[in-house]
Amino acid sequence: MVIKVCIGSACHLKGSYDVIERFRELIQKHKVEDQVELKASFCLGTCTSAVSVQVDDEEIISLLPNTVEDFFEDIVKDIRGEL
């Protein structure tokens, strides 16, 4: 699974660097480094709903540093379910 976080200007101003750092921490915490690849991306085209995040080729969603954890918990559940 690839999680892309937009680091374009609009997303950066809304805290995309913090979003990436939260993801990094959570990936480590849940030890899912082998299943989840975290990538930065330039403009994903949805600047009004920053911070833009895309999982694989799914629809782009909007996250903030304080909503990353809930979102990631669901992802981890999915991964554990798959295993």
């Binding site: 976080v5 680091i7 374009g8 200007s9 609009a10 101003l13 750092e21 930065a40 330039f42």
Partner: protein, 480 residues
Amino acid sequence: MRKFENHVQMVKSEVYQKVAKYAFEGIMSERAKDIPEEINPGVNPRFRCCVYHERATTKERLHMAMGGDKHNDNLVEVLASACDRCLENRYVVTEMCRGCLAHHCQQNCPFDAITIVNNKAYIDQRKCKECGKCHAACPYNAIADVRRPCIKVCPTNAISIDDNRKAIIDNDLCIRCGACVYYCPFGAIQDKSQIIQVIEALKSKDNNVYAIIAPAIAAQFNYVEIGKVITAIKQLGFKDVIEVALGADLVAMNEAQELIERLDKGEKFMTSSCCPAFVQYIYKKYPEIKNNISSTISPMVATARLVKSIHPDACVVFVGPCIAKKDEEKVLSKDKSVDYILTFEELTGMIEAKTIDIHALEPAPLNNASYFGRSFASTGGVTGAVQEILKTKDIKMNINTRICDGIDECDKALKLAKVGRLENTFIEGMACKGGCIKGPVTMHYGGQDKKALDRYCNEAKEKQSDKALRVFDISKIDLH
């Protein structure tokens, strides 16, 4: 609306607009021949002796906008029909000569070149050695120094006069600084453009063209806020707009590290490498010390590699106020990280060609780099950024910096360095006085430029270089 600071800017812009318009519409090959007449219609000239002369100069500008002479590897060329063949003789007695009794001019001429005819001074140009003593001696300033502007500003004496009294450039001496381009009052020396290639890249369906923008943008668009310019750039078809100041942050970190390593190894000094005209100057005038140039790539190349580390298929277009940058990749860099290079003038021509009403646009943010990365655009910025990194890393090394503002100051420092008498350990060299915000093809030369840059620096979300780079895997980017 954009206000041109002179007619040279205006006539260049007219050509860029036309070329961009026809290139976007895909009719350039059919319409190129019509452009000189479209820009100079009717029978009345605007500036020159006749409309046919104006069309001839427009034709040459058009040729430069379409890439210029492919067989000439210098991106700066003289437009023969635009060169006004300025006076050949440097010192000329003007009407201000009052026919005084003292004749200080004559007294001070070491070559006996001045005689008094009908009570007024007369210079025998065959004897004159252009020493300037008569010019300095006349209390009425009656002897004018009318050296050609291009020759006067060229720091490497690369410009001379041919048999037709037109300017010619010696490519081996030219450092591409662009001083002649800015100073020629006839706009007779110009830079070659890649505007058509950029437009073709934008028109392809790949949606992978990135604009990387030099921090000198802060002082370019004094008629519209930067946010609206960013929206306009995106409307041209660029996927994203990234600050070159982000690459500058990377450069600052790497250069600080490199400086420490070099001084540890016992080297006496290191020079900055971000100004390509300064680097060329060392290569051509002081080759003995070329190994002292920092091997760190420029912010432009660093930004391009950063973009390509995230999007490997990206097509990267640099936009800046610089002419020498157009040659940097080819001459100094190992690979083609930057695909195309534009000036702010050319970019503006593209925006105007699309008839985008820039004032009506919703502004978009531009914020990737740190305060220090942005400060690279004026003299002292590189040094400030490197010092800040040494400070935050708590490195107790005594760095003795020397900031060289303009090529004359660079020359003084390099002369000392060459003979081993330089006391400084870090030389920052900026070929343009004031730094990039005073580059040869900036759109605006005003007293407020530095203030505009300072404001822009303070608006950066990140205050320090390492913070601006914290999400990038910079270990994978080659910085040399």
